[in-house]
Amino acid sequence: MVINMNNAVEVENLRKVYEMHKRNGFFRRTKAEVVSVDNVNFSVPEGQALAFVGPNGAGKSTTIRMLTGILTPSAGYARVLGYVPWKERSHMAYHIGAVFGQRSQLWYHLPASDTFDLLAKIYNLDKVEYRKRRDELVDRFRLGPLLDVPVRKLSLGQRMRAEVAASLLHKPRLLLLDEPTIGLDIHAKQQLRELVSEWNRKEGLTVFLTSHDTGDIENVAERVIIINHGRLVLDDSVENLRRQYEGLSLEEALSHIYGLEVESEETEDVPELQAVG
């Protein structure tokens, strides 16, 4: 594989097969293989904001976990910021940030400032640089009055702003956002989207976003990859997708694409919409 150093993420023929055990009667079990990710190929240039979407069980989380080095693929190759994730996870961790909408990294009973201080230690940040960065993030994410309030007393919107700010403390080159706006009200969603977009533009931060919320995709991403049944079914700019489905909302467009996939599975046709580059 030819490595392009301008790419934050490079994926080639990535495949993950899980071995499952099916119960057959009370004592007997049979082995079955489930293909979660099936020969996926794509690359993400540094500084791009990408939405990686698909229905539940499509293989999004498996792909993300392979890209963060938590899972080892069954076959294929990936490089994230020049690292092979599953071999160099601890080195790569200094350069990526991650926000998981349903899992908090903030200490629940302590103010967010305590988690920030702890993260500075975990990422070995220089004291002066850390304070400068923290102050900048606190200012931009409007966390000033909230910084010394125990996290359990923050609203979900406030907590998510603190989560994203925490994930940016160590100046990551790649930010992984897994359902970052889940459960937020419209106003809080919009605030968060604007902040992520701003950081993407301002710092050239590569954003890898997964979300079922089409508002996240439209407001944050410039490119969208759709994965379904473990296979990549569409890779195009958000603008092209909108143009292709003029008159439909993005939600309707995605629902149509997912539906086509189901039909193609049933009829074993080659999906017409495949625009994988």
């Binding site: 976990r65 899972l71 601890s90 991650a98 899992r103 009973h109 702890l118 975990i122 990422y123 070995n124």
Partner: protein, 265 residues
């Protein structure tokens, strides 16, 4: 150095966070008071019935102080297994694994921070209760020095036992049954209720071959019967068991990582 400072920071943050559980600490103190009172009455009856001043060199006062220390160790024992269960079951382990740190060391540091708070509060109240019931222990200064040396290794050893049990969550997802067996083993084979010296000799040699006594009985015995030679042997066995368990944990953890599924993903 940087590596140590990050785990130290995790321990300090965990200690701060655990100060928030004031209600839980209060209820534990009530429980401790009741337990110590019951055992005090029980041992009083045993001493009176046997009409002796000592059992195998232990006076009633020493037994009560021994119980106070073992109760403190047991009541502040790690709660790491439900945390690992939850991390694995809900997929929350992802949050920890994308950071530049070791998950077992993160859990160790976090646990030691938590235990420091729990132990400090428990020992303050157990000490007050024991003081009230039987007065100050003999050899207090030397006993305190010995227990302070033996305790950190005892807590690390106890943590490794629980961590090992917790790592089975990668296979069976709910380790509460295993954790219960482990805690009861520590309680009985560790000598929580009475010093291992009071067990029949055949049992004593068996129990000395297991790690539990070096977690519970060893440090408590040093508090009531401080003995520099015995302390040296205790520390040696603690280090030996820590090395053994750390190697087993490293092996099981490496296998466990390969089993990470997508729970909650």
């Amino acid at each position: 150095m940087n590596c140590l400072s990050k785990y130290w920071a995790i321990a300090v943050t965990s200690a701060k966070s655990n100060l928030a559980y004031a209600g839980e600490i209060g209820s534990r103190l009530c429980f401790l008071g009741i337990i110590l009172f019951i055992f005090m009455q029980l041992w009083k009856a045993i001493f009176a019935n046997a009409n002796v001043a000592q059992f195998q060199g232990y006076t009633l006062e020493e037994i009560i102080w021994y119980l106070a220390i073992t109760e403190c160790i047991m009541l502040s024992s790690p709660r790491v297994t439900p945390l690992i269960d939850e991390d694995v079951r809900t997929g929350a382990i992802t949050v920890q694994l994308v950071r530049p740190m070791s998950y077992p060391l993160y859990r160790l540091a976090s646990n030691l921070g938590e235990q420091a708070v729990r132990f400090a509060v428990t020992v303050a109240s157990a000490g007050s209760i024991a003081l009230l019931l039987v007065g100050p222990p003999s050899n207090f200064g030397l006993g305190l020095a010995c227990v302070l040396l033996a305790l950190p290794l005892a807590l690390v050893l106890d943590f490794l036992g629980y961590l090992l049990v917790g790592l089975f969550a990668f296979w069976c997802e709910d380790t509460s049954g295993l954790a219960l067996i482990y805690s009861r083993l520590t309680m009985v084979a560790g000598g929580m209720l009475m010093p291992l010296d009071l067990f029949p000799e055949a049992f004593q040699s068996l129990l000395k071959g297991l790690p539990f006594g070096y977690i519970v009985s060893g440090p408590a015995r040093q508090f009531v019967h401080p003995d520099p030679t015995g302390l040296g042997a205790l520390l040696g066995f603690q280090i030996l068991w820590i090395v053994v368990l750390a190697l087993v944990v490293a092996f099981v953890y490496s296998k466990a990582l390969k089993r990470i599924a997508l729970n909650g993903g």
